[in-house]
Symmetry: C2
Subunit: 330 residues, 2 copies
């Protein structure tokens, strides 16, 4: 059997995560036992939630164990199977982690249709990030025609889907992204009515100017100044879907909304994790797949090459260096 390269959590970050927290090791590729499937990974997904797993602070999921292979979504191809639901050659999406091969009992694997949609889209708009966008937008923000929806991390794997779904629902969409290139993409390709560069020295004034009718919905990924600026413009009955707070993951302080404002403006603020809503995944994925296949839902990827590149790509993503969905091609 070939060698299986793996990246394990070598140490927990103190403050910002860094390369030294990861270690590349080589092990023997395992052989599937009864009922098991061996998958060769083609793409690994890198996502902000992984930063949370690296710490042992209380969070919604148990921390990653030291020395264990980093968790992560993967698409790949079945190379050997003792499970009647899978046969060699099947393309599958699963949670194989930061390694070239993984064993599965099949429960977390799903065969995907690679004929209409590129397989890596199952890690992006037709996968966990897409369903995250779909849930927060439809189940929490539920925009009405003509309302204004603000999306922070507007061109990211989640935000790019939020913006386009909000636009399809008839909302005015205002994105926040880092740098003029991302903002141009947000406007020209993703259809945002406006996009603000949070690195601009006049960011606050520019954002105010882009919100003449206030904010009815906020899909919050980041925290920091974009959040605070949007929060000052909340309309009565605004809804806030809290999906992430990347700015605080590396130890920064998290923003807050005071209760008096919540009362006076009758805000609804809801934190959510898409894994709590598995029953809705089939509905969401069917909609998203159809939108991607017909070209109505656009997306962009940043692909780094080879498992060895994953830690650097991951750290870059936490700082916003990716453009769209961050993937590792294996």
């Amino acid at each position: 059997m070939p060698v299986n390269k793996q990246i394990v959590l070598a140490s927990r970050p103190i403050g910002a995560a860094e390369l030294g927290n990861f270690k590349l090791i080589e092990t023997e590729t395992p052989t599937p036992g009864p009922g098991e499937v061996l998958v060769r990974h083609l793409y690994l997904s890198l996502d902000p939630y992984m930063r949370g797993r690296m710490s042992d602070a209380k969070s919604y999921a148990a921390p990653q164990e030291l020395g264990a292979v980093m968790v992560g979504g993967t698409v790949g191809e079945v190379v050997a199977s003792n499970n009647e639901r899978f046969k060699p050659g099947d393309k599958v999406v699963g949670a194989g982690g930061w390694q070239n091969y993984s064993l599965s009992d099949g429960r977390d694997l799903r065969v995907i249709d690679a004929t209409r949609i590129p397989i890596q889209a199952y890690l992006g708009p037709v996968g966990m990030p897409g369903v995250t966008a779909w849930y927060g937008l439809n189940k929490i923000i539920a925009p009405k025609k003509g309302e204004t929806v603000v999306v922070t991390a507007a061109t990211g794997a989640v935000g790019s889907v939020v913006g386009q779904l909000a636009k399809l629902a008839g909302a005015r969409t205002v994105g926040v992204a880092g740098g003029p290139e991302k903002c141009a993409y947000a406007r020209d390709e993703l259809g945002y009515d406006a996009c603000l560069d949070h690195r601009s020295p006049n960011f606050v004034d520019e954002m105010k100017a882009a919100l003449p009718n206030g904010v009815d919905g906020l899909f919050e990924n980041v925290g920091g100044l974009p959040f605070e600026t949007a929060a000052r413009r909340f309309n009565d009955f605004a809804r806030v879907a809290i999906c992430g707070a990347i700015a605080s993951y590396d130890g920064g302080s998290a923003p807050a909304i005071d209760l008096r404002v919540m009362l006076v403006k009758r805000l609804k603020v809801e934190g959510f994790i898409v894994m709590d809503h598995l029953a809705l995944w089939p509905t969401a994925l069917a909609e998203l797949a159809s939108l991607v296949a017909s070209g109505r839902l656009r997306y962009r990827e940043t692909v780094s090459e080879g498992l060895e590149s994953a830690p650097q790509a991951f750290l870059g993503m936490l700082k916003g260096k990716n453009f769209g969905k961050q993937l590792v091609k294996l």
Copy 2:
């Protein structure tokens, strides 16, 4: 016609409201014009929201004008009517304000059944405070059997109804109130499983001990330490109904929940004003009237005598000196 005593807003509070902000004047009792009804008030309701109207800070309702009669809910008796929906002798609930008589075109008046329920209950458990409790508990917290619901201002006009409705729904109820007498009433009469005295020197430890299974629902009226202590014990998927923040009305700081906690615990936090949900009032009032008439919903009143006593009673209520619903008997 008799003299109509009125209390008007003489000046806006700077910091805490005080007696000098109010002025008693005497005017002639008006005569109803075409379609109008003249009501003699029997009870005036005093409620925390009035403090908000005294300020000109942006809030959910326009500020009260200087020199105008203070707003307020009233029950009374029709003394003269040019409106076919009302006849002299009818008992009505309305928004007559801080005065002995008011004119109405009838749109804000509702005839009440004074045979099963004492008329002043239409200003309390079968009125705005009751519907406020009903909405926040049923539409935001929606407690499941066995969950823990915390109610601040547990014996107040709103809180006392929240606690009893939560108990009827099968929740464990934990109240916070000021002083041992209120806490004894909360436990013995309102059926709270536990009640904490926020004036106790060991309040934080006592509250922690009363929440062995954490907090699933918080009905928030007060802010300050009770809120902060409950917030530290939120379970995953806890719901927070923000109905008031009395501690901040006189200029104190309002508490906040940080977004990272909201995300990690998947909290839902919602501010609400019962006047936004008029369509639900008939359903809520029918349920509440039936519970009061059958003795399953208990309540208590603090009644001050005479219009002149209203300012002092109002200021006392903001400091928690009332016990149950604060009324003025006219």
